[in-house]
């Protein structure tokens, strides 16, 4: 796109802007990483140090050691993985069908449904968790990953549906129609035509729902009560106890908890960035 020649001023502006953005992204991350390798005695100083004077793995060792009734951090990450993968699968699969219906099919009540799906954003989570807890208690699905995964659909399905809907809208229906003329049934035409074309959108929706579920802590804390089911975010949050914070552990835990998401970004960016569909349309 940027193949045409640009003036020097514009280019400098561009480089300056990108460096500023890059710095604002990189510095806090750098800060969290180095803080996780500092001893707390170095963190609690009037003058901050910009690289660890005496790097140490203390924070990570402490995180990996079970304390009190808390599991080692890696075990809590396993729990998070179950919840996040489970809820992403459910959201994206349900979302694909819902988004397809909302973009490709014409039927009574369609607009009402697309609006209703947004209902989740109408009420703040802090007002939702108590009624949901009571409902799950009644259903006997408290303290189960199934229950947690269901609760994550509150944000998962609406997001996946709307995101996918907007991507489906960019794909001409004519392609699918031609496939159907060629003898595909509707399901086949979705699987062989629409989904591959919407791959970047599906990847984006997957990343989002996974990240949102992975980073959620309020429902996880309230709906999963057994210590062995604790998710990583809850474990991280519980490092903030009263006013005394083990900063290096908090930052170390944040680094660990961010890694899977970053790995996922790497894996998915192939689909998002590869331009699979560029030129394939029309």
């Amino acid at each position: 796109m940027a193949r045409t020649s640009q003036s020097w001023g514009l280019r400098t502006l561009k480089i300056g802007f990108m460096s500023l953005v890059g710095l604002s992204v990189a510095f806090p991350v750098y800060w969290m990483v180095i803080t996780s390798f500092k001893p707390n005695s170095e963190i609690y100083q009037r003058n901050p140090t910009f690289y660890p004077q005496a790097p140490t793995l203390d924070a990570y060792v402490a995180l990996m050691t079970p304390h009190g009734t808390r599991a080692p951090f890696v075990a809590t990450m396993g729990n998070s993985l179950i919840a996040a993968v489970g809820s992403t699968l459910v959201s994206v699969i349900i979302g694909i069908f819902a988004a397809y219906a909302l973009t490709r099919l014409r039927f009574r009540g369609r607009e009402a449904f697309s609006g209703l799906i947004f209902g989740c954003y109408v009420f703040p989570g802090i007002l939702m968790f108590i009624p949901i807890y009571l409902m799950f208690q009644w259903l006997g699905i408290l303290d189960t990953f199934f229950g947690l995964i269901i609760s994550y659909q509150i944000f998962g399905i609406p997001f996946a549906t709307w995101m996918l809907r907007s991507y489906f809208a960019t794909i001409p229906a004519s392609l699918e129609d031609s496939a159907r003329i060629d003898g595909c049934n509707r399901l086949q035409s979705i699987i062989y035509v629409t989904l591959p074309l919407a791959a970047p959108g599906i990847a984006a929706a997957t990343i989002f729902t996974f990240t949102a579920a992975w980073n959620e802590f309020l429902f996880a804390q309230v709906l999963l009560q057994k210590p062995q089911y604790q998710t990583a975010q809850v474990a991280l949050y519980s490092l903030l106890n009263g006013d005394s914070v083990a900063w290096n552990q908090l930052m170390g835990g944040s680094v660990l908890v961010s890694l899977p998401v970053i790995v996922l970004f790497f894996a998915a960016q192939r689909y998002i960035g590869s331009g699979l569909t560029a030129g394939a349309v029309k």
Partner: protein, 452 residues
Amino acid sequence: MKKTTSPLYESLVSRRDVLHLAGKSAAFAGFVSATQTLPAAAQSAPTLRIWMGEDYVPAWNDYLPVMIQKVAAEMEINVEVELTPDNDVGRARRNTALESDTLPDIIQGTTADSARLDGLGKLHPIAAEVVERMRGTNGGWTAGIEEFVKGPTGNIFGVPFFTRPWMVHYRTDLFDKIGITTPPATLEDLMEAARAVHNPAEGIYGAGMPYGQADMDGHMVAFPWLHGGAWQNAAGELTVETEENLAGLKAYLRFFEEGLTPQDSLNWGGIGNNNAYLTGLSAIVCNTGSLFAALNRDRPDLAEVTRFGPWPSATANGSPAATTIGFCLNIAHNSPNAELAGQFIEKMLEPENMAPLLEAGSGQAMPVREELTLIDYFQNDPIVGSIVENIVPHARPLTSPGPNTPQYGELVSNNSPYFQDMLHRVLVDGMSAEESLKLFAADGDAVTAKYQ
């Protein structure tokens, strides 16, 4: 300063824990192996659900569940024990249990929170019987401790567990150098001392006072006392708009107005308080043993040069004071095993089980049983001994001089926003102290009306 060998151990427990558990490690190992070798209770045996507070000190969190398992094994019952943190997510959890009426059989709480549960009818009256029974064992309760767990009608709603006093911390390295004695005799002396070392250009603030939402009980509850006032009377009625309280409020505001405390103390990041002292930014700060535990862990150099005192009296009719948070063990009103839970609590508080826990608390947990005050740790430890000697005599429950009422708890207990509103109206919005106190009184009336 002694260096410990294992970095794992260093980060696991504070330096003082190392010193103390070194002598006790045999006993500690004994507990651990006891829980492993004792036969598990039969499946048919009753199960108690227990929620305890997660503490700032890792050693406490390590020991407490082990101790509970040991007691359970001895009583031949099953327990499901869990430590919940003191933060918003932990609160969400406890609020959910409260709202759904699924509190565990035994739940630890501050006396203010427990008074609220009591006010809602969520606690079992059997706690009073347990307290009564325990008057006759192990030397009985420490003097005045029962005041902590008394409701508005004089009813006892929970079993005292331990107390945690607020202590004024002084940097002796800074004060000794210029010949200022700490702790000072009066509040005016304290301010003088703060001014004497105040040097923001060098990164030293005279005092670290919080003006946000956290830590208000240690400060805004105490300041009226220093001037002979209080936010409620002995009958449990709010007494907000008095000369004494106004004087207390004005004295507290002066630290900020004179710039003796960092500007960010308006925020609740803790810079007015914990972090200010931990980073060496402020020379005087008031906090509970949680700060001392953090100092031991993160800035042992500062822990070495810290001296404690209560808030000194400001006027002739005031007196030195240390607000003290009480913690108690409560039994849920709908517990199917209330009698058993009572016995369980009784056993937990026996010196054999409780003494190592208090030691693991490294100075932030004070005993509520006479016999526990006699253990070597409270008698002879140089630092904890000084707390027992200098602070505990001035310790007062948050509610002093009145009972635990829900309206008082809501208005003043930790993380109540009403104090912050009162302080920010003056310091940020420029209102007069008198006017702001009047609005605080109106808040008090509104809160009282809620519980009529």
